[in-house]
């Protein structure tokens, strides 16, 4: 899995830190355990020395472990803070979408059984597929209309829950055009496994065009429905 956002770059680094830390711990415990089990097999008539312990060595081991934990805590906070930073918008988006480098493109993502709905700033909306411009800081406001859902597109951002009654936030900035897939990650009922989503990263011009055409299409569809109702034909 290749990270495609500044935040996921940090998470990827943290993944290696976590992997190395876990490996050190597992190798230390299992290695020492296997060694003593092989080395100290019972012999006839041998009576081991009844050592009850030592405060010195206990404090030393505790100190080493505490230092290890503290180092991990510091690294965890450092990289988490970096991963949380709002990315800066670069490239053409800043001009075309009139976003300053510290502003984010706000899109509302609504989880509902079993589909994601995305509401764009110009009142256009889409289901299942989110379209965003490349190299642009996107902020998703996650909300839910029914049960708890988790929005998860691992190449672009860490996962976050959409909880009814609360708003959660995800920020990312895709560094490459393309399609990134994701899947809801909290059990939400029968069709949970099929509740997937897709993020299509396009150039700012294509994004603008997508918004315009979507809005036009939605308007056309609404006009048609309103027209049908006025004619007395309930759709």
């Amino acid at each position: 899995m290749t990270p495609h956002s500044p935040g996921t770059d940090q998470i990827d680094t943290l993944l290696w830190i976590g992997f190395v830390a876990a490996t050190i711990l597992i190798v230390a415990v299992v290695g020492a355990l296997l060694y003593v089990l092989r080395r100290y097999r019972a012999e006839r008539g041998a009576e081991p020395r009844q050592v009850t312990g030592g405060r010195r060595i206990q404090l030393r081991v505790g100190g080493v472990l505490a230092a290890f934990a503290a180092a991990l805590f510091v690294l965890g906070v450092l990289y988490t803070d970096k991963a949380r930073e709002t990315p800066t918008t670069t490239g053409e988006s800043s001009g075309l979408l009139q976003l300053s480098s510290s502003e984010t493109l706000k899109i509302e993502a609504t989880g509902q059984q079993w589909l994601w709905r995305y509401d764009y700033p110009n009142e256009a909306f889409s289901y299942y597929k989110l379209v965003v411009p490349v190299d642009t800081a996107v902020e998703l406001d996650l909300v839910s209309t029914d049960v708890v859902h988790t929005w998860d597109v691992p190449e672009l951002a860490g996962k976050r829950d959409a909880v009814p009654g609360k708003t959660n936030h995800v920020v990312f900035s895709a560094d490459q055009e393309g399609t990134y897939s994701g899947q809801a990650a909290t059990l939400s009922g029968q069709a949970y496994a099929a509740m997937r989503t897709e993020v299509e990263v396009v150039s700012p011009q294509e994004y603008e065009a997508f918004l315009e055409s979507t809005k036009t299409d939605i308007q056309a569809a609404q006009d048609r429905v309103v027209g049908l109702i006025e004619e007395g034909k309930t759709p």
């Binding site: 998470i11 830390a21 081991p48 472990l65 990289y79 059984q113 976050r160 909880v163 990650a185 496994a193």
Partner: protein
């Protein structure tokens, strides 16, 4: 001339006729009968949980499988979670605590036996309610039934109510047993059995009981609120009406995290009895080890928000949870270090309990080391809710409850039945389980960590060779693990009648339970030795050796010199 009886308690009007065995068991308030009921019941539910797990794994063997429909899968998932936690792991730990602790502290029973009896039968009642769900509709709300999904609006049948009642009854039962254990530990220790001389497993029982007294009321409150929400138009967990779904997450995760720690404290406590006895050394740094177990229970429970990194809570809370999780490295590390230091320099007899203990330590280490990486907040956003966390949790809890549980079962089985568990079948089951757990859960680390496969989903989508292979290997591994576990349980069943007679002190243990008969009399002990150290049986052995040496010396001197 007849004088009044000097010992009136010896005047007996004949013995009551013995009642049938099942009546004895059903009416018994003896901690040994109840403990065996809990342990036997938990092993039965281990088997049922395995069947549910296997059905789910079969569904996930190949991509987009249609073996189980989504609803059936979600039911298996929900029942598996409840069964594994409330009806296998907890009653196994509580049952062994309840059986062994009074014997270890030299008590002739428990302080509040009827409470323990009610508790045990509440567990039975809970299990009955959960599986009575099959008569209508079992729950499909997941391992932890998060509102609003578990609310009446989304699951309107009675499955969730059955889950709530079942887990509530069982939890209430465990609390009552814990109250009895706490009272017994305070009031009924044998003369000389000071807290500083208490065996480590009894310390684990004390810690586990207090842990239950703290966390269970939280869960019972949450379950009550869920029942009110579902049946009486409550709004505790309704996000848009003044309540919050996050409330349930906080309350339930306090309980689940505390239970996680309780099971590890149980396993480590049992292992800390086995390792010294089978290496013929005292436990290295006993005091620090016990202190570490206390710290694990307390600090571990405080890390509950580690399960809520993706929820809309402040980043400060997440850092607090991370701090608590990472702090756990110190007490867990010290326990591991002290156990290994006990083995070092000893004369290690590699019997089945020690084999299982070593397996448990290995699997717990793998699980907890993975949890360390999940605790790093931003990495948690990536790894949590994927099969990577399934694998981590299963390594730690199968390591603790199954490997650790089997170690404890092998260890105390001779005390409970008078017969030893088969060594050959024990070893065979152990190695099968080791191969099984590694094959079953190592691939899930990669499926979750690398491919992002999410938890609890009834199907995954193919098109990716590595992900397909991971899932297929995991399914095969789960079958191997199940075969190993069934062999282990079969070993226990076969050995009840057919095992080698073990005598009262099967392992050369140092604690008082080995002073009682095997199986112990209903009153546990006729007489009790004075407890003068943490190793009372070793003191007796030394005293006997000493006095026989003294008795022999004059005899030798009086020998005629030829």
């Amino acid at each position: 001339m007849s004088s009044p009886a000097r010992n009136p308690e010896l005047v007996v009007d004949g013995f009551p006729t013995r009642r049938p065995r099942w009546v004895e068991i059903v009416t018994s308030a003896d901690h040994k009968d109840l403990g065996r009921l809990l342990i036997g019941g938990s092993l039965g539910f281990l088997f049922i949980a395995l069947v549910e797990l296997l059905l789910m794994r079969l569904q996930l063997a190949i991509p987009e499988n249609t073996f189980l429909d989504p609803v059936t899968f979600n039911r298996m998932l929900s029942l598996y979670g409840a069964t594994a936690i409330f009806f296998f792991a907890l009653p196994l730990a509580v049952g062994l605590f309840y059986y062994v602790t009074p014997l270890q502290i030299g008590a002739r029973g428990t302080a509040l036996p009827r409470l323990g009896q009610i508790g045990t039968w509440l567990f039975v009642a809970g299990a009955t309610v959960l599986y009575a769900g099959f008569l209508f509709t079992p729950t499909e709300a997941g391992v932890n039934p998060l509102p609003p999904l578990s609310g009446i609006a989304f699951l309107s049948n009675n499955g969730v109510d059955a889950w709530a009642a079942a887990c509530g009854l069982a939890t209430l039962g465990f609390v009552l047993i814990a109250v009895d254990l706490v009272a017994t530990l305070r009031r009924l220790r044998a003369p000389g059995m000071a807290w500083r001389r208490l065996p480590v497993f009894s310390w684990a029982a004390a810690i586990g009981s207090w842990q239950l007294l703290f966390i269970s009321p939280v869960m019972l409150a949450a379950i009550t609120m869920l029942l009110i929400d579902r049946n009486f138009d409550g709004i505790f967990f309704a996000g848009d009406a003044g309540g919050s779904p996050l409330l349930w997450q906080h309350l339930s995760w306090i309980f689940y995290t505390g239970t996680y720690m309780l099971i590890l404290v149980f396993a480590l406590g049992a292992i800390a009895e086995i390792v010294p006895a089978l290496s013929r050394k005292p436990l290295f740094n006993r005091g620090a080890t016990i202190g570490s177990l206390v710290a694990i229970a307390a600090i571990g429970t405080l890390a509950w928000m580690q399960n809520m990194y993706t929820a809309p809570i402040g980043i400060g809370w997440m850092y607090f949870a991370m701090a608590m999780s990472l702090t756990l490295i110190v007490p867990f590390g010290l326990v591991f270090f002290n156990l290994i230091a006990t083995l070092a320099g000893g004369t290690v007899k590699m019997r089945a309990p020690l084999l299982f203990a070593a397996g448990a330590l290995t699997m717990i280490a793998i699980g907890l080391a993975s949890e360390v990486s999940h605790a790093l907040v931003a990495l948690g956003w990536r790894l949590q809710h994927t099969t990577d966390s399934t694998a981590a949790t299963h390594f730690a809890l199968v390591g603790g409850a199954v490997f650790g549980g089997f170690a404890a079962l092998h260890w105390w089985f001779p005390k409970m039945t008078g017969r030893a568990m088969g060594e050959t079948l024990g070893r065979a089951s152990f190695w099968t389980m080791v191969v099984g757990i590694l094959l079953a859960f190592v691939p899930l680390f990669f499926a979750g960590g690398d491919q992002g496969q999410v938890v609890d989903a009834y199907k995954f989508f193919g098109g990716n060779g590595a992900l397909d292979a991971d899932n297929l290997i995991a399914t095969i591994g789960t079958f191997v693990l199940a075969v190993g576990i069934v062999m282990g349980v079969a070993n226990a069943i076969l050995s009840r009648e057919g095992g080698a007679p073990a005598g009262h002190d099967a392992w050369g243990g140092d604690s008082l339970e080995w002073f009682a008969l095997s199986p112990p009399e209903p009153h546990n002990f006729d007489v009790l030795p004075d407890v003068r150290s943490a190793r009372p049986l070793r003191d007796i052995r030394e005293a006997i050796a000493h006095s026989s040496a003294r008795a022999e010396a004059p005899a030798r001197e009086s020998q005629p010199v030829a």
